[in-house]
Each structure stands twice: as structure tokens, then as C-alpha cells.
Symmetry: C2
Subunit: 214 residues, 2 copies
DNA sequence: GCAGTTCGATACCGATCGGTACAGAAGTGG
DNA sequence: CCACTTCTGTACCGATCGGTATCGAACTGC
């Protein structure tokens, strides 16, 4: 079997290189030339092996969640809500400031956070992935409450939204150039307040702030 | 004075339209065609009036900070550290989920969060603006400590980094589709923990998490 | 050897990118 | 009116965009 001339490169290894380019430059900021150069293969080889740029990006995202960002899933297996949270946050810091890609941030966050019309599909898919990650975290917190591991007065959805927001904040902070040690202190602060107090009874959506519209 | 044919459009009003396009699509996701169509002017008029695409983006950012996002500066004038924080966070929610641009997020965050080589200059400039905003917030917290408005045991830089991270988180959450009411509850939670406790004495940068590198 | 199949590199496709030359229209000061 | 200045629209520039046709090279099975 496996008729014909064998492929001269390793699919996964080249996909890893492509992922790194997308990670650094985003979907729209990356051209075919960037990809073929980094991957060391020609354009037709890329298309034969991965489909097209959009499909390659999707594969890169899958490679990312299964590789550098697998802490996001792994965290859910921790025994307590607090350990889940710490695992998730510390892992996020580590990924967003990996040595090879110092101020990288997170591919899921910034790979296609905003796009033109032709990137709309990917943008929405990444948004869905983020929402799904939050949903999974929410479910984990709910389970923690059932196990008596987390105070029952808290809304697990609020909690998950808050923790996820911190991970997004870490990603943007990393892209802003914040040092890993500083980001770990940010995590320290979040954990020091764990479990968070129940929010006040909603201080009116229209608070003391200015009318923020222009 | 004012020789020659007068300009047939209002500079500021058209700049506002351009800002909205950049806001929605980012720098790299926006083409000249998108801009000229939204602004209702021809390409040469755009170049004569604003320079080029990059210069237009810079003007759009300035228009943004002075317009929709002026809460960021205005917040610093609040009398207490807590009021500053609430003003900043609520304003961020409002801007990131403005009616005209429901899941917009923040232009400073996502206008050029990651880019290819030709967008590198803008990317770094926006990163600098974010860092500068954090620095200003830090200074404000330091003043609050001197005024006895904030416990002295906290590091103002840690505080500013944390609050800014929450605003970034809000921006990404907005782009993910989170409803304004949910984001306001996120703000509630952050404020309920205000002022935050001093972080634990750093639980070792290498905690119980997985080795996050692939 | 041969037939069949798949890979890889060159060279190219139309479309779009950001940016501009040019000429006419619309205003000013004399 | 004129000379002068500045704006606007058309039409175009080279470069790059994502994507592909083509053909020789390399491999398997017979």
C-alpha cells in the first residue's frame, strides 16, 4: 500500500511550524509566503497536504489546543476548584510567555479576534471555542459545588466568566510585553481572593460613570 | 485665506466612520475599499486628507481615545481608588458593547494585537499605549495610598496590572459575544473583592501544573 | 523492465492590495 | 474676466494576495 512517491516531509512537524507563524502574526497577518518559508515546503505541497490557508489554520488551532494549550483541558481534571483555577491560570501564563515566542499571547484569543469579511468564519469559530471553554469551566465549578468544594452561594457561570476573563487579560498583557513574573503575581492576586465573594446586588448598570458613547 | 476649492466633507465626521471600520475589522482586516466606502470619499481624497492607511489608523486611534474611550482618562479623576476602578471597568463594558458595535471590543486592544511584519510598528505603538495606560493607573493608585485611600500593603503596580487585565478580559469577552449584563456582573465580582488581598508569598513559578510547552 | 500513482518545483492565474498620475471642477484674490 | 490654488473622480500603477495548471521526479506493484 501507500502507492506513489512518499511525502518528503513530516505532516505534524511542518504543521507545528505553521502554527507558530499564525500564533505570532494572526490569520490575516500571515501570508502564504510566510507559511511556505517557515514550513520549508512549496505552495502546491501545502495545498495538497493541508487544503488551503483556512484549513491549515484550523489544523494549526487543533494542534495548538492539543499541544501548547492542552493545560486548558488538563486543568479540569484537578481535584478541587481552586486547583483547577490555578492550573488554568499558571498554564496560561506559561503558554503566553513561552521562550520561543516571548510576547505571544494565545492563538485562540488573538489568531482571529477581529477580521475583515473573509475571515469572519474563523473569527466566529474561535469565539465559539472560547465560549465552549468557558462553558466547560462553568460545568466543572458546578460539579465542585455539588462536591462541597466551592461555596454554594456563588454562580458558577459568573465564576467561569471571571476566571476566563483573567486568562484573556493575561494573553493581552503578554502581547503588551508584561514579564512572566509579573503575570504570575497577577495570578497570585486572583488566587488570593479565591473563592471570590458574591457580587453586590448589582450597582445599577448605569452607575456614576460618564456616558461612554462618543 | 483658505485658497482653492473647499473640502466637500467634514474631516472629523469621516474620521469617525473610518474609526468604526478599524474598530470592527482591525488594521490588517481593513482594506482601502472598506474605508473609502464607509467614509463616502474617494481614495485620493483620503490620502490628501489623512496621509495613508497607517496615518489614518493613528488618527482613528486618537479619535477613539478622545471619544468612545475617554472614560479611561476620565476615570483617573475620580476621588477614590475604588471609584476610579469602577468608572474604568463600567466604562470599558459600555464601550466594548456599544449598541452600534455590539461585540466590538476595544480598538486599542484588538486593532493590531498581532500583525504581520508591515503592521509591526502599529502593533508596538498600541502595546505602548496599553502599557502607558497601566502606568497612569498605577500612579493613580499610588496617590490613593498616599491619601490613605487604599491599604499601604498592596503594590500599586500589581493592582493596576490586575485591573487592566480585567479590562482586557472584558474586551475579549465582548468580542466573544458575552452580553453586557454578564460583563457588568464580572465587574461586580471584581469590585466585591476590592481592595484585593495581598497575594500569597508567591507559590513558586513552577506549581502543580503540567509542563505547558508542547 | 513497465504501468500506475503521488509528490514537488516552476511558473502562472485573476483578484485585490496600498498608493498615485492626471485632468477637470470649484473655489479664492485680483 | 483672469491667474492661482486646492479638491474630486477616473483610471491606473507595481506588488502581493490566495490558489492552481503542468510536468518531471520518485516511489509501488507487477
Amino acid at each position: 500500500m501507500t502507492l506513489g512517491r512518499p511525502r518528503a516531509f513530516d505532516l505534524d512537524e511542518r504543521l507545528d511550524r505553521a502554527m507558530r507563524v499564525f500564533w505570532r502574526q494572526g490569520y490575516e497577518g500571515t501570508g502564504l509566503a510566510d507559511l511556505t518559508e517557515a514550513m520549508g515546503i512549496s505552495r502546491p505541497s501545502l495545498y495538497a497536504a493541508y487544503g488551503n490557508k483556512e484549513a491549515l489554520f484550523r489544523k494549526a488551532v487543533a494542534h495548538y489546543t492539543a499541544g501548547p494549550a492542552r493545560h486548558a483541558d488538563a486543568a479540569l481534571a484537578e481535584p478541587t476548584a481552586r486547583a483547577v483555577t490555578e492550573h488554568l491560570l499558571r498554564g496560561t501564563v506559561r503558554v503566553c510567555t513561552s521562550d520561543e515566542n516571548p510576547s505571544a499571547g494565545c492563538l485562540i484569543v488573538q489568531g482571529a479576534l477581529v477580521t475583515g469579511p473573509q475571515g469572519a468564519a474563523l473569527r466566529e469559530e474561535l469565539a465559539l471555542m472560547r465560549a465552549e471553554g468557558e462553558r466547560a469551566l462553568c460545568a466543572r465549578y458546578r460539579r465542585a459545588q455539588e462536591e462541597g468544594d466551592l461555596p454554594a452561594g456563588l454562580d458558577p457561570a459568573d465564576l467561569a466568566r471571571h476566571v476566563k476573563a483573567v486568562t484573556y487579560g493575561i494573553a493581552v498583557q503578554a502581547a503588551t510585553g508584561t514579564a512572566p513574573a509579573d503575570l504570575h503575581r497577577l495570578v497570585d492576586m486572583t488566587l488570593a481572593a479565591w473563592p471570590p465573594p458574591a457580587p453586590a446586588p448589582a450597582p445599577a448598570p448605569d452607575g456614576p460613570e460618564l456616558p461612554a458613547g462618543r
